[in-house]
Subunit: 406 residues, 2 copies
Amino acid sequence: MKNIMIAQSGGPTAAINTSLAGILDAAFESDQVGEVYGGIHGIQGIIEGNVISLTERLKGKKDKLDKLYYTPDMYLRTCRYKLKKPEDDSTDYEKVLETFKKYDIDIFLYIGGNDSMDTVARMSEFVKARGEDIKVVGVPKTVDNDLVEIDHTPGFGSAAKYVATSVREIMLDTCIYPYANVAIVEIMGRDAGWLTAAASLSAPEGCSARPLVYLPESAFDEDKFIEKVNEGIKSHGYVVVAVSEGIRDKDGNYISASETKLDKFGHPQLSGTGSVLVSLVKERIGCKVRGIELATAQRSAGHCASATDLAESFKLGQNACRYALEGKTGVMACLKRTGNNPYETEFSAADVLNIANKVKGVPAEWIDEENAFVTQEMIDYLTPLIQGETEVTYKNGLPDYLFEEV
Amino acid sequence: MKNIMIAQSGGPTAAINTSLAGILDAAFESDQVGEVYGGIHGIQGIIEGNVISLTERLKGKKDKLDKLYYTPDMYLRTCRYKLKKPEDDSTDYEKVLETFKKYDIDIFLYIGGNDSMDTVARMSEFVKARGEDIKVVGVPKTVDNDLVEIDHTPGFGSAAKYVATSVREIMLDTCIYPYANVAIVEIMGRDAGWLTAAASLSAPEGCSARPLVYLPESAFDEDKFIEKVNEGIKSHGYVVVAVSEGIRDKDGNYISASETKLDKFGHPQLSGTGSVLVSLVKERIGCKVRGIELATAQRSAGHCASATDLAESFKLGQNACRYALEGKTGVMACLKRTGNNPYETEFSAADVLNIANKVKGVPAEWIDEENAFVTQEMIDYLTPLIQGETEVTYKNGLPDYLFEEV
């Protein structure tokens, strides 16, 4: 019988718990699995020995598992903790191994993004080098959709659905005034424009205006931006702008540069991009302009999740568990798109060394010539991912999410 | 046969179009009604003669009327236009009357908040004084819930449902870190705390923490606030704060005062309250803190509307039309709560002179002693209003709202 440890890491999404539910589904069904544990606060919690029994809490509890499927954010909590190279300092690795030995762990499943896949790669190498028979498998997640090797990441479809829905509602909210009105919506995604691109789906049927969409993969030009906003005001009286937090000018400087700080992984923490554009419109056009940050809602809005995203996230969780039980290690559960009309996918395992620390941006040819919208290829790529609505149950008027103290 | 003119005014909600759909339902069903017109951009558009035929666009078009029911924001667009006193300057009134005569209008129905009810009061007095047999009836709306005479306003229940849902999701997003984490959510409502109070419903089942809730009806004390945040960090490791944009200190100064400007009605335009509190937590506690403005989503999130709110908004629209057809004028369609368990309401017409320009704040006794949450009375008041979910249809993954150019 194999014991499993699961943990979650990085920023939340609406589908990380769905992947956890998928792992648990496969684990609780399997006659090869003994105990299932959860590390609280990712690898940091495992280092510190902060572990709960998921078998005790959730096995056979269909109600809770059903709720977990629809609950956004992270049942097992998170961390942003970067392991040092083991050759420089192996202390953390030894502590993780200590916790694994304490609970007699055979399989470690880590749900996370690029940085977490780095942890998967390093841990799988470390246990192998130590001759330990512990399988380490990654389960992808990130609203940024910037992982390589996978067609799109779990959590992205739900975030994209929320962004497209919200920007549609912002368009309806912006078009109603008897004077020129501009709304600037700042969207997450770090250096990748995938999530911002979802705003390209927002214009409602019958609406001849469309949002301006600015991605970080193409240089942002202030003058052209002001020109496009003026054009929109002239033709429709209002303009909605969707802008990625990570846009840069032609010299590669962040538009929000004055407020840039680095996070623990050395990535710039971006914010204020929307405010910069608001000031620009105020100064150079002088019309009514409002800045809107979709903030944490775009990653946590479980009430607006994509059914397609949730179903895929569940299956990736199931698969990760099965890969590990089959003896695979150092891999991430992956999916490829094999068709778009109808939308079809194929699931497989990918070598995590090809994934860790790499970033997949939007291809230049998916950004339109004017650099203020996307091409049909991007729209065809995005559309299948937001299909279907979450069937989250409501209790007393609100989504009935699973919350447990840890 | 009576001709009807309808217009919408003030800030958007998820239910203003639902009231429009209710009016149209009653009008298109009635054998007393001839043509139905829409004034574009409220009273300002009627002054300018900007009118469309709703009979042509929507009569007999069930698909469009069904969509209108679920579409947030304002099909007829809006204005914020204050009529002068007719004794000072009657130009605008004459122009409105001219438009009414042009279209042979017998009934004018105006959907709006406190300021729009002022327009209803003045227009009904004016046409009466001029011996014109034109009935003027108001239909309430505002996410601020600050109208007197009515138990709660159309649009409020949907906004409250969105606020409670979002703050629940923000709690799940904030509780996951291995370090102290504070989220400060700024919520609309001007000088009334009703919408912010909806955050009191947010804690998910099984969660021992609850958000701190700060309403403008009670003085905000910085020291006590910091004390409460510190307590929350100590007991749970995280704190979510819901704060009304209009909170003031004990001397009555807005906490966001440095950025205060007046709008056209002389109301302060509030913003930045959340940022002030973020800075306060940064300086005095020094932990991780994030500011979140729910921004326009709280009034426009049709995808998260309350079925109860939509049903009531529709009925208030129907009733307004019927009151006018019965010969009432200078009234607003109103509702009273007659029971809470089960929730029951009674509909009637209220004299608009008792409503215009008045504001209903949260009663002091519904704010808890510590001034950082609400009492059970408030929770009992709010809970019925957010029940039921919108049945908006989805098309290609997004809410299929009705949009038409005007």
